[in-house]
């Protein structure tokens, strides 16, 4: 057991020796990985999707049994048959997907499976809540044990997940891409919590493919590629501030991750054509104030804003899912205000949905049928009137798979069997295949690794070069700053600012984003550090 006395012990808190994992399909996810994690440190595990990070951590958490190799905790050999064994040994993991029950309070969620009772068999909820409050205060979680999870923000839910494994007594905490769904503020807050945990002697393994936050947060970084360790770096305070040291280590890590240098951001002239999308005073009569905006052909318009400030509503308004109460929406000069979704899609809107699993794909359907989504009424996939042509659908899907390099054994497997990056490639490919005059890209790179991210960025850039309009909705200010020709800022359902990227910096945008809002999580400047 890695008790508190292990903090000063010379033995690493976790040592993995020669971990091999070969899946039944013959895929070698881990090929002889050695890893040592110092007690009381934050250890980054960096790598692209499919590099073997998650598999390795699932081995450590007892979710996956390794083909070969062993685990040592503070020098003691252990074998985990299940996550319960791992928790017993004080190793806890927060998965990418949340496992909380929305209708329960924090306390009810945390005691689930291990409910404390009074002598008379009644649930000892109040005592449990007090303990959780104490735990939350000690590490700066800022969680109300009696709040309902459904009422909490994504960032708070993430912290509850961590609190949950702490509550189970975890000394070693594995976090699988915890910031993928968080806003900059929420990420900053999470980083604060993790630093406190480190100060108090806990060990954190932090899986990520975001270079910047790994450098900001971690003491040591191990980079995985193709199931092998390709390098390790010690990160010191000198690397964290901006400067040549940081640039050097960033370049280093990036090269290790992808095995090549990253292409530089596109520098290009801005020569927009005719407007493809015009909103004049358009509003849903509820969440959105009357919106005036336009997107021209040949430009990328970035829409910045804190999550939940009307971005989703605006997208729904443009797509026609949300009714337009007043004002007008023009697509290529045609008034589409009253058009249903289907007709707008056919008139040339493509949409890369923010949450691909719930809005862009039907996970239990085959890849081929997912490729058809949005095209189901198009005669090119029909034969003899209304029959669907399976052949044409499969051919179309196969072409998407080929052109956009979707890694899948066949177009007949379900979308759920693809990795996140490949799901996104499928979605992007499908929407681009429409040859849309306007593409609405909502968080198109969320949860994607570097290679997939630059793939998406290149595709958006190509659309722009092709004279099409792109509306890029993103929480990632850096993404907005690098890609956009113009930036719009939305706050509280209204447009509060517009600028060219050369005219503003991230701090100004952050101020605009939070203007007029009483923000619980602090200013954007705080998040940028």
């Amino acid at each position: 057991m890695a008790g508190p006395d292990a903090v000063q012990a010379p033995e690493p808190a976790v040592r993995l020796r020669g971990i091999w994992k070969t899946y039944s399909g013959g895929v070698q996810a881990n090929r002889g990985i050695d890893l040592a994690v110092r007690a009381g440190s934050i250890h980054g595990l960096l790598g692209e999707n499919g590099a073997g990070k998650s598999t390795l951590m699932k081995v450590l958490f007892g979710l996956v049994s390794p083909t070969r190799g062993g685990i040592e905790l503070s020098g003691r050999k252990v074998r985990f048959g299940s996550p319960a064994d791992a928790l017993e040994a004080r190793v806890g993991m927060v998965q990418q997907h949340f496992s909380l029950i929305p209708d329960f309070t924090v306390t009810q969620n945390l005691i689930l499976g291990n409910e404390p009772t009074t002598r008379f068999g009644r649930l000892a909820l109040r005592a449990a809540a007090a303990r959780i409050q104490e735990l939350s205060d000690r590490y700066g979680f800022r969680i109300d044990p009696n709040a309902r999870v459904a009422d909490m923000s994504v960032g708070a839910r993430q912290r509850v997940e961590i609190l949950k494994i702490l509550h189970r007594g975890a000394e070693v905490l594995i976090l699988d891409e915890p910031t993928a769904a968080l806003t900059p503020q929420e990420s900053a807050e999470l980083h604060g919590v993790l630093r406190t945990l480190r100060e108090q002697g806990r060990t954190v393994i932090f899986i990520s493919h975001k270079l910047a936050e790994v450098i900001d947060l971690c003491d040591r970084v191990t980079v995985l590629r193709d199931g092998e360790v390709v390098g390790e770096r010690e990160i010191g305070p000198e690397h964290r501030g901006p400067g040549p040291d940081r640039d050097a280590v960033e370049r280093d890590l990036a090269r290790m991750m992808v095995g090549r240098d990253l292409p530089a951001g596109p520098g290009r002239p801005h020569a927009p054509g005719a407007p493809v999308l015009i909103l004049s005073g358009a509003t849903d009569g509820g969440a959105l104030a009357p919106i005036d905006m336009e997107v021209r052909g040949g430009e990328i318009v970035g829409l910045a804003g804190v999550e939940g400030n009307g971005q989703n509503e605006l997208i729904e308004l443009i797509l026609g899912i949300r009714g337009c109460a007043s004002g007008r929406i023009l697509l290529n000069g045609t008034d589409v205000t009253r058009w249903p979704v289907d007709r707008r899609l056919r008139a040339g809107i493509g949409h890369i949905a923010e949450d691909r699993q719930s809005a862009a794909l039907v996970m239990s359907m085959p890849v081929a049928e997912n490729a058809l989504l949005g095209y189901q009424n198009q005669p090119r996939f029909h034969r003899r009137g209304r029959w669907l042509s399976v052949q044409r659908i499969r051919d179309f899907a196969a072409e998407l798979v080929r052109r956009f390099d979707v890694r899948t054994p066949s177009v007949r497997v379900t979308a759920s069997s693809l990795s996140g990056g490949n799901q996104q490639k499928l979605v992007v490919g499908r929407e681009l295949a429409r040859r849309p005059s306007l593409i609405v890209a909502a968080q198109p790179t969320r949860g994607l690794d570097l290679a997939a991210t630059s793939f998406v960025h290149e595709e958006l850039d190509e659309l722009r070069a092709d004279g099409r309009g792109v509306l890029l909705v993103s929480l990632d200010l850096t993404e907005i700053m690098t890609l956009s020709d113009r930036i719009l800022v939305v706050s509280g359902g209204a447009m509060v600012g517009s600028a060219r990227p050369s005219e503003v910096d991230e701090e100004t945008l952050g101020l605009w984003m939070t203007r007029g809002r009483t923000d619980r999580t602090g200013s954007v400047e705080a998040a940028a550090t």
């Binding site: 994504v154 849903d284 209304r386």
Partner: protein, 398 residues
């Protein structure tokens, strides 16, 4: 995680008008449909369920005072052992099959249509009435009667469909309640002095005209031309569900209504369409019985076909081909029960218990499958079970 799924988030206080984009991404029925996919696995599961039910039936037969071997012998002898027996099996199969298709197509769109029984009754009543009261040339008459029955079934299903699509009223509640309305209305119309009651036969309509009847095709058995309707219906339904844009829309809406909306498929519209198709097939089942078998509508001509059809649809994994196989099996049970009673002295009610076993196992096998799948994934380490419990099997033959 995204805002549309998160109504309790409360970050946008002026949440706007009630928005059906807030539908859950996966409905429970959608999850059920997912768990039931995969043709190959389905065939295996189908066989598994039957074997399990046959084994579990052994103590039942003992308890009923019969030698199991003898009992099963009689059951098979009485269902497929002779020309007469096979014909009776097919006759029993028909309403279950058409009803099963009705249940299955609604399930595909994420709807649990428990109202097939009521829709079937209304279809039978209309078919019987048209057959008896109208005077049309042969051929045309039967077509009109069948069309009327399908229309009646569809309209009966339209009420819960509209309530579900535009008012969010759960279809399980409304379809069950409309069953009772259908029972009462039909009984009222054929009660003594009722509007449609026959002059010679209480609680029934007049015999349908020969021009509206489905002729017997395999004398001396009771097998009638409805079997052709049934065969066409199976093929039609398979094509509809798996090979048309309409069926595709049903399946997308049943599995992920949010993605459907984002891609120009209107869930309310698909709900109405799926219920119309479902109700029409239920009505067809009623017409088939009335025009082909009884040649008149009489009160309680259906011994609960619409309810048994739910089990048929589940055992058949919602796939029309599977539904046909399941219906044939249930048909065997029904027709075989006669000989079972005569030879082995087992009450016909035993068959109800046995049907219950089959449905129970059919429900359990998806559970077993899921557990096995999870264990297998654990061993091979293919990650955590997905919410649907399926990762590699195919949802549909495309």
């Amino acid at each position: 995680m995204s805002a549309p799924k998160d109504p309790g988030n409360g970050r946008l206080r002026s949440a706007g008008p009630p928005d059906s984009a807030l539908l859950p991404a996966t409905t429970w029925s959608g999850r059920l449909t997912d768990a039931l996919g995969g043709p190959l696995r389905n065939a295996r599961n189908f066989a598994l369920v039957l074997v399990a039910a046959l084994v579990a039936g052994i103590p039942l037969l003992y308890a009923a005072g019969s030698d199991p071997l003898n009992g099963y012998g009689a059951l098979f002898e009485g269902s497929i052992g002779s020309k007469q027996a096979l014909a009776e099996t097919l006759v029993s199969m028909m309403p279950l099959l058409l009803g099963g298709l009705a249940v299955a197509v609604a399930f595909q769109a994420g709807l649990f249509n428990i109202g097939v029984e009521g829709q079937l009754l209304m279809g039978g009543l209309v078919a019987g009435t048209i057959g008896a009261k109208l005077d049309l040339p042969a051929g045309i008459h039967v077509l009109v009667a069948v069309a009327g029955a399908m229309l009646a079934g569809g309209l009966w299903a339209l009420i819960p469909a509209l309530l579900k699509a535009f008012r969010g009223v759960h279809e399980v509640i409304t379809t069950i309640m409309l069953n009772y309305v259908a029972f009462s209305v039909s009984r009222y119309l054929v009660k003594p002095g009722g509007l449609l009651v026959s002059r010679t036969q209480p609680s029934a309509t007049e015999l349908v005209a020969p021009s509206a009847g489905l002729p017997r095709i395999w004398s001396p058995t009771r097998l009638h031309a409805g079997i052709f309707i049934v065969v066409v219906a199976v093929g039609f339904m398979w094509y509809l569900v798996f090979r048309t844009s309409l069926g595709y829309r049903f399946r997308v809406v049943g599995r992920n209504p949010v993605a459907a909306r984002f891609h120009g498929i209107s869930p309310p519209r698909a709900i109405v369409q799926a219920m119309l198709v479902s109700g029409a097939f239920a009505g067809l089942a009623g017409a088939n019985e009335v025009l082909g078998l009884h040649h008149r509508y009489f009160d309680q001509f259906s011994p609960g076909y619409g309810f048994d059809a739910i089990g048929v649809a589940l055992l058949g994994s919602l796939n029309p081909i599977g539904v046909a196989a399941a219906a044939f099996f249930f048909g065997m049970l029904r027709s075989g029960s006669v000989l079972l009673q005569a030879v082995a002295g087992v009450s016909r009610d035993m068959i109800s218990a046995f049907s219950g076993l089959v449905v129970g196992f059919a429900a359990a096998v998806t559970l077993v499958d899921r557990i096995l799948g999870r264990r297998r994934r654990m061993r091979t380490g293919e990650g955590l079970p997905s919410p649907a419990g399926v990762t590699t099997q195919e949802g549909a033959p495309v």
